[in-house]
């Protein structure tokens, strides 16, 4: 009796701890199950079903949607979907690169300003994103449409055909993406620049690194975590972007997000839409994985991406 009582006490403690854990984790787990696991499973299921007469998925299971996604239709193979995928990747790559090129000096500049000005400058970077995406896209439409000063200028310079306008075009989509995602890169980069260890930069200079090499060896590695975090925040939503290509891209500016949306709406082909969504998911995971690898290599074996 005397010996068993501490054991019993310990068992009770374990039980109570387990119960405590269960109660604290359960709400989150239920949330994730309902809003992530179930829809994903449903999407997976739909992608492997047959398209019914009204666009609703039906049995039997088939790979037809994936075949169509790869371009095999009633009329043989067509590269339309492949182009859409490549365009999405290209737009993501170009807009992310441009965002980095613009955000890097901006973030650095803000950290060099007086401390009391910094929150105001950061606010100026963020404020545009408080307006609805659609409204901002309409704003760009007005700025870039045929006959506007910017379009006329591009026309005069011979950059576009006569009376074409800068919108609608792939260029307008890139511009829209860069504009939309800039704050998501500036903020993490600003955080990285703000805690920059200047002693490392001085050490590099002291050890015979000219300004360019000092930047590359002592500044850049320190901002890498911010840069990669920003890239994840920009590239992934840009890849799946729907609104901007829809409004600024026109027929030739379609991205993967528009393809998926069309299948669920006008084209009424849920299985094909689901297959497209899965393709996006896979591409995103590959991208994230690649980012982690790059981060690990450049960061000297440290985890620098989420």
């Amino acid at each position: 009796m005397l010996q068993s009582s501490p054991m019993a006490w310990r068992r009770r403690a374990v039980v109570s701890e387990t119960r405590h854990l269960l109660f604290s984790v359960a709400p989150g787990a239920v949330w994730i199950f309902i809003f992530l696991v179930l829809p994903s499973a449903y999407l997976m299921g739909v992608a492997f079903m047959t398209n019914g007469p009204y666009g609703l998925p039906q049995m039997p299971l088939s790979l037809a949607s994936f075949e169509r996604l790869a371009g095999f239709g009633f009329l043989g193979w067509s590269p339309g979907n492949l182009y859409t995928l490549l365009r999405s990747l290209w737009q993501t790559l170009v807009s992310t690169a441009l965002v980095v090129i613009i955000a890097y000096p901006v973030a650095y500049y803000i950290t060099t300003c007086r401390e009391k000005w910094r929150p105001i400058l950061l606010l100026l970077v963020v404020v545009p994103s408080w307006t609805n995406q659609v409204i901002r896209a309409f704003g760009w439409m007005n700025l870039l449409a045929p006959g506007t000063p910017l379009s006329d200028l591009a026309d005069a310079l011979g950059l576009i055909g006569p009376h074409m306008g800068l919108y609608p075009s792939n260029f307008a989509v890139t511009l829209g993406l860069v504009y939309n995602f800039l704050p998501f890169m500036v903020l993490p980069l600003y955080a990285a620049f703000e805690k920059l260890d200047t002693a490392q930069v001085e050490a590099a200079q002291d050890l015979y690194a000219n300004p360019i090499r000092a930047f590359w060896h002592a500044v850049f590695p320190q901002t890498l975590p911010g840069l990669l975090a920003g890239t994840v925040l920009v590239a992934i939503p840009a890849f799946g972007m729907y609104v901007i290509p829809e409004l600024l891209g026109g027929g030739k500016g379609m991205m993967l997000g528009n393809l998926v949306a069309n299948q669920f709406a006008e084209s009424s082909n849920w299985p094909l839409g689901a297959a497209g969504a899965i393709l996006m998911l896979i591409a995103t995971f590959i991208g994230l994985f690649a980012m982690r690898r790059i981060g690990k290599r450049l960061g000297g074996g440290e985890e620098v991406v989420i």
């Binding site: 002693a199 001085e202 590099a204 000219n210 090499r213 060896h217």
Partner: protein, 378 residues
Amino acid sequence: MSENMTAEIADHSSAHPTTGERDGANRKASSIEMQGLHKRFGRDTVALDGVDLNIRAGEFFTLLGPSGCGKTTLLRILAGLEEPEAGSLVVGGKNITEVPPHQRSVNTVFQSYALFPHLSVRENLAFGLKMRGMKTAERQAKVDEIAEFIKLGDLVDRHVDQLSGGQRQRIALARALICEPDVLLLDEPLSALDAGLRSQLQVELLRVQKRLGMTFVFVTHDQQEAMVMSDRIAVLNGGTIQQVGTPDEVYEHPVNAFVAHFMGHDNLFAISAAEDDWVDTELGRLRLDPAEQRDAQDGWLLIRPETLELDGEIPEGYNRLQGTVAERLYRGSRIEYRLTVNGRSLMAVASNLGQRMHNIGDRVTISVCPEDLVRVAA
């Protein structure tokens, strides 16, 4: 961790005597001449207010002073990380006032070590050589050589974040030394370490400097450290140099009250009147060496606590004071007494040679040789 480290270094310095392929004699060392260096931060903060200083080739030279005295600014000007507003800097006969840091043969051991965390220890060590375009194989050989010299052992293959403070310090030293600069600058490199490790590394630093015969410029605010390490010391305050001299000169003959205070002296007494061979102070009239006379009437009299004798035999001509013991601090190798003389506090230190200790409240006769009294400018 740090105990390990201490033991390790202690082992190194005893097991490996200072013999090696490197030899101070056949190595170039550079002298440094600074003239009229001025530096201001912002509009009002004067960091350096006209510094003239010559540092000899192969010297272990220390810049000593309280924080904000300009010592770090001076070091940064030497490194090229800060530009002086006026004045010139000549190292090894070359005027390098305008030369950017990456073109100076001057390397720095930073206070925060400033190791590159994304690089391995080996890459950190090889950084300077890589920037100077040395080939990989040659670089590796150099890294192995310096690792042997500083006794880094297996630290070379670790990652920076696996190192303790003392280990980082030695890597930072090795990273600067590997470049074989004309001048090595050290910015309070030991200030972040605990006392035991600190004294071990002081010994090691001295050993390295003597073996390489390189010019070391060392910055510290710790006067004990400065005295242990240095061939010569410059004491700075308010952006100007107060005194330059060997440790014993600065300690035993400080030129002014600031230097005396900073070197740890407590027994400073205002001189109210002075003649050829005596001064009047709050303690009473004291005889001193006529050679010690200064031009200035006002000033301070410095009495070093270790020159006072309590209740001893008093030779002819010695000063004699009466006092009471107010406080006694037993420090093992020595005993410190705070005495009260004429209502003034006077510190005395006696080596613990087994003599009878004085008790608090005891009346004692204090004697001091006139030659041990030093006059100090205000």
